[in-house]
């Protein structure tokens, strides 16, 4: 039955499925894992940094991107789709700042991205965006936020979540280990993100990239090499 209703995005199957949207969610699982943690005074995004080909410029391979000074996003899925969504979101952030003279709230830009994704599930001749995104940041009121969007255009706020390959395993780890104690301090939250990624990384913890935003401080991206017991920072670099 699936094969008769899964070719066109605008066609529901008799049992109410939009198969193209569900297949887009499979495309998300082909991307490497990204994890997001919302602490008390910090938000953390962690990804496994992909090993690049020998002749490829490492700087141009990015899984975490800044949408504005106070908001950043990690994605999993089709690289080209992510580039398009990120560009639209960045333009919207600046447009909002020029129009209302206030930076966007994290919820606003998440809603914008989710609405964009939903439009592509309802247009003929187009396909959904094959990415899920984790969007983190601090609003003006100083409250940390973490949102997740998926190809269907839904968005929800989370305390901690993971997307991409083996996301389910990471989420189960977070459900067991995300406690008030675990996020009591900034370092504990960072350690939790690294430990969650270590559950599923392929490279044995050699290449974990973290994006950290602390309250009233700019975004910081650092590269980590982690082992099962502890972790040490390898080098820091500012996100351009």
């Amino acid at each position: 039955m699936a094969s008769r209703y899964d070719r066109a995005i605008t066609v529901f199957s008799p049992d109410g499925h939009l198969f193209q949207v569900e297949y887009a969610q499979e495309a998300v699982k082909k991307g490497s894992t990204a994890v997001g943690i919302r602490g008390t005074n910090i938000v953390v995004l962690g990804v496994e940094k992909k090993s690049v080909a020998k002749l490829q410029d490492e700087r141009t391979v990015r899984k975490i991107c800044a949408l504005d000074d106070h908001v950043c996003m990690a994605f999993a899925g089709l690289t080209a789709d992510a580039r398009v969504v990120i560009n639209r979101a960045r333009v919207e952030c600046q447009s909002h700042k020029l129009t209302v003279e206030d930076p966007v709230t994290v919820e606003y830009i998440t809603r914008f991205i989710a609405t964009l994704k939903q439009k592509y599930t309802q247009s003929n001749g187009r396909r959904p965006f094959g990415i899920s995104a984790l969007i983190v940041g601090f609003d003006d009121d100083g409250i940390p936020r973490l949102y997740q969007t998926d190809p269907s255009g839904t968005y929800h706020a989370w305390k901690a979540n993971a997307i991409g390959r083996s996301a389910k395993t990471v989420r189960e780890f977070l459900e067991k280990n995300y406690t008030e104690d675990a996020i009591a301090s900034d370092n504990e939250a960072i350690k939790l993100a690294i430990k969650a990624l270590l559950e599923v990384v392929q490279s044995g913890g050699k290449n974990i990239e973290l994006a950290i935003i602390r309250r009233n401080q700019p975004l910081k991206v650092t590269l980590w090499e982690a082992e099962a017991d502890g972790s040490r920072e390898v080098r820091s670099s500012k996100l351009t």
Binding site: K50, S51, V61, A76, T79, A80, R127
Partner: protein, 267 residues
Amino acid sequence: MAATFFGEVVKAPCRAGTEDEEEEEEGRRETPEDREVRQQLARKREVRLLRRQTKTSLEVSLLEKYPCSKFIIAIGNNAVAFLSSFVMNSGVWEEVGCAKLWNEWCRTADTTHLSSTEAFCGFYHLKSNPSVFGSCPRKNMQITILTCRHVTDYKTLESTGSLPSPFLKALKTQNFKDPACCPLLEQPNIVHDLPAAVLSYCQVWKIPAILYLCYTDVMKLDLMTVEAFKPILSTRSLKGLVKNIPQSTEILKKLMTTNEIQSNIYT
């Protein structure tokens, strides 16, 4: 076939009418050259079993030299990675031969000089216990097959998002009396390709055989998928063959890094 404005693929009606009868007849007649080309292609596509060093045919000596009690087949890169890092890492395994074949999808045109890395299948036997391995049906032989399948092939009432992937399912022949280390594959799921062929053969010839099928999200080489095969190490088929699990895990990690082929399409 044609695509509509909405992106559906539909069968387009053909306006060419029926084909010319004369053209059909010509197509059916086979010239001697066609026959020659077809025979050459069939010879090229033959599957050959070769001994390791001498490259002579393996089949006859296999029957005499290597009677066996346990035969383990791994199909697919995750199953092969599991076998090579966990089972073949413990003890000394000797390569006794390989199977080579060629078809139109192979990248090399040269069929006579395929290196061992291009072999379709390698045969190994355990030096310390030569009864583990074999290729012919004998009494008291037990066959274990390991393979992977994408989780979207798994038919279930639950949505695939809620399945604990990767997970293991088993399917065994009537003569296999030992319990499986995981739940059996339920209907209406079916097994395809080579594992199905081997299992059917074993069922017909009353050989005890069990297939362990890992349903996974990731079909390329993946640590989580390979580790999903671990419960099999406690079964009677593989017990005693695996000595050092932590060391095997390290070898597996090394295999991951050397085999990492990064695609730019997905990040």
